[in-house]
C-alpha cells in the first residue's frame, strides 16, 4: 500500500497551523516530532523524513532565506526521491518561485504547500476541512509522481510555481495559474495534465545567488525620475510594472539614462522602450519577474547577459512563448 520505494523529505518552513483549534505549531526543530504525531495519516502513504528550515514565527524571509532553503533542498534531492516543503502562506509562492530559479535541471518533484491559517483564521468561513492536512496529503501524493518541477499544491490543483498567482481566498483554490494550465487536478486522485515539464536527464545544479536590493515599483502617471534615482542609490536594479498604464516616452528616455538595469514588466503587452539598460519583459507574473530579476542579478552584472537571462524561458515561466 505504501509507496515503499519512494522516500520523501518533508521540510518545515512555517505554515504549520493544523486547524483553528490546534495550538501546536513547529516553532523549533523540537516541535517536529509532536507535530507529526498530530498527523499520523501522512505516514500511510510514503516513508518521510522531516527537516527543519524555519520556525512558524521566524522573521527569516526573502533572498537570505531563499539561499539557505534552496541549499537544503538541493542536498536533499541527492538522497530523496522528492521534497515537500510546508511553508507560510505569506511567502510560499515567493519561496517556490525562488527555488525554481535556483535549481537548474530539476529532475524530481519539489512540492510546496502549507496552511492558510492563521492569516485567514479570523474569517467566518471554516478553513479546517480544506486546510493543511488535505493539502499535505495531496502534496505527498504528487511527490510520488514523475513530476520534475517546483509546484504549489493547494486546494484541488497543482500549479507550476512560476505561473502561480493569488486567487480568491474564499474559494478552494487560493492560487491560480496565470495561463490556466495546471500540472495536475485533484478530484478523485491526482490527474496529471499534459505539460511541458523537462525530461529528467541531468544533474541538478544549484545557482542560488539572489540580490536583495532591487526596487520594485508599479508605474502610475506622474511618477518622477528623481524619486526613482533616490531609491536606486543603494539598489542593484529596478523593476517597474506598467501592466495597467503606458509609460510616457519622456519617462522611458529618463529610465534609459539610469546607470542601473531596468526591467519594464508588462504582463499583457511588450513595451518597446529602447536603451542599453532597459529590458522589455512580458508574459510573466510580476512576482515571478521580480524574483527572476533578483536571481538573474545574482548570476551576472553584465547588461547583455542579464538581458539574455531575463528574456529567455529558463524554467517554463513565460505564459506566452
Amino acid at each position: 500500500m505504501k509507496n515503499i520505494g519512494k522516500r520523501i523529505a518533508l521540510v518545515f518552513a512555517g505554515g504549520t497551523v493544523l486547524s483553528t483549534a490546534e495550538r501546536l505549531v513547529v516553532k523549533t526543530e523540537a516541535d517536529i516530532t509532536p507535530w507529526l504525531h498530530k498527523v499520523p495519516e501522512i505516514g500511510i502513504m510514503s516513508a518521510i523524513e522531516p527537516f527543519f528550515a524555519r520556525g512558524e514565527y521566524d522573521d527569516l524571509a526573502g533572498p537570505e532565506f531563499w539561499q539557505s532553503l534552496t541549499e537544503k533542498i538541493h542536498k536533499l534531492l541527492i538522497d530523496f526521491d522528492s521534497v515537500v516543503v510546508i511553508s507560510s502562506f505569506s511567502d510560499v509562492a515567493d519561496n517556490a518561485i525562488a527555488t525554481t530559479f535556483a535549481l537548474e535541471n530539476l529532475n524530481k518533484p519539489v512540492i510546496f504547500t502549507g496552511s492558510l491559517l492563521p492569516m485567514f483564521g479570523h474569517r467566518s468561513r471554516n478553513l479546517d476541512p480544506i486546510g493543511l492536512r488535505a493539502n499535505l496529503i495531496n502534496a505527498m501524493q504528487a511527490a510520488t509522481m514523475d513530476l520534475p518541477a517546483v509546484c504549489l499544491a493547494y486546494g484541488n490543483c497543482l500549479i507550476r510555481a512560476v505561473k502561480s498567482g493569488r486567487g480568491d481566498v474564499d474559494s478552494n483554490n487560493v492560487f491560480t495559474s496565470s495561463d490556466d494550465k495546471y500540472l495536475a487536478r485533484v478530484d478523485f486522485g491526482i490527474s496529471r495534465h499534459n505539460d511541458d515539464t523537462d525530461e529528467p536527464e541531468f544533474i541538478v545544479n544549484l545557482k542560488n545567488n539572489f540580490v536583495r536590493n532591487i526596487v520594485f515599483l508599479r508605474y502610475t502617471p506622474g511618477l518622477k525620475i528623481d524619486i526613482i534615482e533616490t531609491l536606486l542609490k543603494n539598489s542593484a536594479g529596478l523593476l517597474i510594472d506598467n501592466s495597467t498604464t503606458e509609460l510616457l516616452p519622456s519617462f522611458i528616455q529618463d529610465l534609459s539614462l539610469l546607470n542601473k538595469p531596468v526591467t519594464i514588466c508588462n504582463r499583457f503587452a511588450k513595451s518597446v522602450a529602447n536603451g542599453i539598460n532597459l529590458i522589455n519583459l512580458h508574459g510573466l507574473t510580476k512576482e515571478t519577474a521580480y524574483i527572476k530579476m533578483c536571481w538573474a542579478l545574482g548570476q551576472t552584472t553584465d547588461f547583455a547577459e542579464l538581458r539574455s537571462l531575463m528574456l529567455n524561458d529558463l524554467r517554463g515561466e513565460f505564459t506566452s512563448n
Binding site: 505504501k2 499520523p40 501522512i42 500511510i44 502513504m45 488535505a134 496529503i137 484541488n156 478530484d187 478523485f188
Partner: protein, 195 residues
C-alpha cells in the same frame, strides 16, 4: 449522501464489487468510484464533497493509501472491507489503535452473505454519526396457528419480504409508536414530560 468506493480495477467488475455498488445505489447513495465512469453531473465534484469512503479488497493498489489518508485528514468515515481470513496491511494497523482515528476507520471482514450488513451499518454511521441498525442475534421458537401461517405467507409474498423480516418490522414499528414504552425506555425525558 455521496460515497467514494475504491477497489482494484480489473477488466471486469468482480461479483463483490458489483454487489457493493448495487447495494449502495439501491440504498439511495450517490456512488463515485474508480470503477465507474465519470458523468457530466459529477464532473465538478471532488473527494472533498464525499461523505464517506469504502475500500474493498486485500490487494488494493497503492492509491488506496492516499484515499484513506485524505479521508482521515478530512474526518470522513471509512469502511475498509477485507475478505474473511485476510489481515489488515501493516501500514493501516495503527489506525485501529489511534484514539482519534479509530472513530473514523472501520475494519470489517466480510463474507458474500455479510457484506450488505456491513454496508448498511456504514451508511447508518455516515448518515447519522451513530450505528442505529441492530443485528438480530436473539433466537427463539414461535408457534403459529395454521391460519396465522397462511396469512403470513400471503402477505409476505405480496410485500416481497421474508416472514422473519416482516415480523421484525412489525415489532420495530410497534416499539416506535408505543408511547408508554418510549417513556419507560427513556426515563429522563419521561420525567420532563411529567413536569
Amino acid at each position: 449522501m455521496k460515497i467514494y468506493f475504491f477497489s482494484k480495477k480489473t477488466a471486469e467488475q468482480t461479483d463483490v464489487q458489483k454487489k457493493i455498488i448495487k447495494f449502495l445505489k439501491e440504498s439511495g447513495v450517490l456512488v463515485f468510484s474508480n470503477l465507474l465512469e465519470r458523468t457530466r453531473e459529477t464532473d465538478n465534484l471532488s473527494f472533498t464533497n464525499m461523505n464517506g469512503l469504502i475500500v474493498e479488497g486485500d490487494d488494493v493498489v497503492s492509491e488506496a493509501g492516499y484515499f484513506v489518508a485524505l479521508a482521515l485528514a478530512q474526518e470522513k468515515q471509512i469502511l475498509y472491507l477485507l475478505p474473511k481470513g485476510f489481515v489488515l496491511p501493516d501500514q493501516l494497523r495503527f489506525l485501529l489503535e489511534d484514539k482519534k482515528l479509530k472513530k473514523f476507520f472501520h475494519l470489517a471482514h466480510y463474507s458474500p452473505k455479510s457484506i450488505t450488513d456491513h454496508l448498511a451499518d456504514f451508511i447508518d454511521l455516515t448518515e447519522t454519526g451513530e450505528l442505529r441498525r441492530e443485528v438480530p442475534t436473539i433466537k427463539f421458537t414461535l408457534r403459529f396457528t395454521p391460519r396465522a401461517d397462511r396469512y403470513l405467507n400471503w402477505t409476505c409474498q405480496r410485500k416481497n419480504l421474508a416472514k422473519a423480516d416482516y415480523l421484525r418490522k412489525l415489532i420495530e414499528e410497534q416499539i416506535i409508536s408505543d408511547v408508554d414504552y418510549q417513556k419507560f425506555s427513556k426515563p429522563e425525558s419521561a420525567q420532563k414530560d411529567k413536569e
